[in-house]
């Protein structure tokens, strides 16, 4: 084979190149990984099918986590949504469900993400701007009113205050007679990537990890259908990381959570099946597919070999995907429909379990109803019209895709070694390692665009002068006032002595080493607000300030 290839290179190829050189000297992926002209059996020689690929639903899960994949059940179409008041977001959820989405995903506003009530000074100007405002159980009850939470799963993008928002969801359901054991869904609850990329941390790393292990332990004991963490590469990628950096940093974070839970004394097989992941799907089609396949394989090997997990369910990586927000352009926003479609297709070819597709208007504002519907329709077209769901892992065996999958795995493992050498995830965060790696990649990417080495259609090439004219979302101008009125009512109508007692109980738990979840649930049930509960933790744990890395 190799000699035949050489013959072709020196003969036909050489003549062709003399006549017409290629468009570029080097071809690279979006992440800058060189791509060869041609891949052949030589590139995957010596690959053992059984150990490196295997069958769907079996170790090492390269080909997928279910034996039938999308022939059995399509991925969950889960659109990330939330803005303004709980009423407005509830209406958006119902709209998306009516149009065929199959899972819910909540976006919270900045004050909620930072654990402030809407009337605290730090919340100034931020109400409902990039998600829904949730200040107490009363808001959570409105958010899910009329939605069958025992039949649909809900993902919540919440990190530092994850335990409290989760408790609100649980109590709101229980008040409707739905036991917590029947609730399915996910809290993001991934603080390491907050320190690394998204920066919505509050407490220092130590107590932050303690709260996460509290939720993992509580979930393993009481909520068998809940994913207690969604270990996320999405935000790492959005901050500028390459595909390999996203993969390596995310999986390394995953290893850190598993170790922390084991250090608490938990049995790995009791919690590992409820760990879930969340990746970005960017522009480079094959690079993304290779990343997803490599992710499953690395995780399976690590769980089996590093942590000695015995249950196959502990080895398999289930993940959600979101198309790349950072790839969307404000210029000619309709083109974003096409970008999103390609990215979504890569996620499906990569075997995702659930998917959010971005709306075309997201470089300009929160998605309008129509734009969100087109994004959802994109998934439905892939599912029902494209034919890619008919067979499992259709790109397996492609010389290129297999070679790229292998290369991606190796590159991720190189990062594992570097982070190990720094002493692990938290020391690497404190040393600014991840932050610097990501800033370097973001800088390089932007420089390539500015220098015209990388083409972004409509931005640095194929520009038009026409003004953008897509209708943007308008929020209820009275929303903040309505929300604050409900918050005031809650504070007036609840038993304030009971709230104080329960917050005091929580404070004691936080100062000691009890699992805080039952105390949080108690406080939430008495309508203690998000800001009040978080203030207890702020007092006990302190707040983290990062040393910025440029």
């Amino acid at each position: 084979m190799a000699s035949k290839q050489k013959e072709w290179e020196e003969g036909l190829l050489c003549k062709s190149l003399q006549r017409a050189p290629e468009r570029r000297e080097q071809f690279v992926t979006t992440s800058g990984v060189p791509v060869e002209r041609l891949y052949t059996p030589v590139d995957i020689a010596g690959k053992d099918y059984a150990t490196e690929l295997g069958f769907p639903g079996e170790y090492p899960f390269t080909r997928g986590v279910h034996p039938t994949m999308y022939r059995g059940k399509l991925w969950t179409m889960r659109m990330f949504a939330g803005y303004g008041t709980a009423e407005e977001t509830n209406a958006r959820f119902k709209y998306l469900l009516e149009h065929g989405e199959t899972g819910l995903s909540v976006a919270f506003d900045m004050p909620t993400l930072y654990g402030y009530d809407a009337d605290q000074p730090m919340a100034c100007g931020e109400f409902g701007k990039c998600g829904v405002a949730i200040s107490s159980l009363a808001d959570m009850e409105v958010l899910f009113a009329g939605i069958p939470v025992d039949e649909i799963t809900t993902s919540m993008t919440i990190n530092s205050p994850a335990a409290i928002i989760w408790a609100m969801y649980v109590v709101a359901a229980e008040k409707r007679g739905i036991p917590r054991q029947r609730l399915g869904g996910t809290i993001q609850n991934d603080i390491l990537k907050e320190f690394i990329a998204q920066k919505e941390y509050i407490f220092p790393p130590g107590p932050s990890m303690r709260l996460i292990v509290d939720t993992i332990e509580f979930g393993a004991r009481e909520m068998p259908l809940w994913n207690t963490i969604s270990i996320s590469g999405y935000h790492i990628r959005e901050a500028g990381a390459t595909a390999v950096q996203e993969l390596a940093f995310t999986l390394y974070d995953g290893l850190a959570y598993v170790q922390a839970a084991i250090d608490r004394g938990l049995n790995v097989d009791d919690f590992a099946p409820r760990l879930s992941f969340f990746f970005n799907s960017h522009n480079d089609f094959f690079e993304e597919i290779a990343k997803f396949r490599a992710a499953r394989r690395i995780w399976a090997k690590e769980m089996r070999d590093r942590f000695d997990a015995k249950e196959p369910r502990s080895w398999l990586m289930r993940f959600h995907t979101q198309t790349a927000g950072c790839s969307l352009t404000a210029q000619q926003p309709e083109n974003n429909v096409v970008r999103t479609a390609l990215q979504a297709l890569a996620a499906v070819m990569g075997g995702t379990q659930s998917l959010h597709t971005n709306s075309m208007d997201e470089a300009l504002a929160l998605p309008s109803e129509k734009a969100a519907r087109v994004a959802l329709r994109t998934q439905q077209i892939i599912a029902h019209e494209s034919g890619v769901t008919n067979t499992i892992d259709p790109l397996a065996g492609s010389y290129f895709v297999e070679a790229l999958t292998d290369r991606t795995e190796r590159a991720a493992r190189d990062y594992f070694q570097k982070i190990d050498a720094l002493g692990g995830a938290i020391p690497a965060i404190e040393a600014g390692f991840f932050q610097r790696e990501i800033a370097d990649s973001a800088h390089r990417y932007q420089k390539e665009i500015d220098e015209g080495k990388r083409t972004i259609v409509g931005v640095n090439d194929y520009q038009t002068q026409e003004p953008t004219s897509i209708p943007l979302l308008k929020m209820d101008p009275e929303g903040e006032r309505k929300h604050l009125a409900r918050l005031n009512r809650v504070r007036q109508e609840r038993d304030n002595d009971e709230v104080r007692r329960r917050l005091q109980g929580l404070r004691q738990a936080a100062m000691g080493d009890a699992n805080t979840m039952p105390y949080i649930i108690d406080a939430v049930r008495a309508y203690a607000t998000l800001g009040e509960i978080m203030q207890v933790f702020r007092d006990v744990f302190g707040e983290y300030v990062e040393t910025p890395v440029l």
Binding site: E126, C130, K199, A365, L366, H443
Partner: protein
Amino acid sequence: MKERRKIRVLIAKPGLDGHDRGAKVVARALRDAGMEVIYSGLRQTPEMIVETAIQEDVDVIGLSILSGAHLPLFSRLGELTREQGLDRVLIVAGGIIPDEDMPAVREMGIRAVFGPGSSTTDIVDFVLSNAPQDKG
């Protein structure tokens, strides 16, 4: 001949917004262009930003915000810079700021807004040609 001092720029992140990719990329581009760049870090109130601007004696403040909370934050910042007599300081912004907010944003003293897709070359050029000359 008196040598002109380097342009001093404060890149700041007002409000709770944690998206710092753009702020960092712009900070590096300005630094590469020979300016002295101070980065505020995250979660800055308008008061903190103005205080840093005074302490660091900057010529330019670059505000980066993607959360949608720009109007109240920029408005407060505009008031504070006027109160503190920082009229000579060039203030520019970047992030997601809808067209319809532009007149209000200009009114608050923001001289230019660089939205998604802006090139760092354009940002550098604007700062170089609009930063205040040596103090009189």
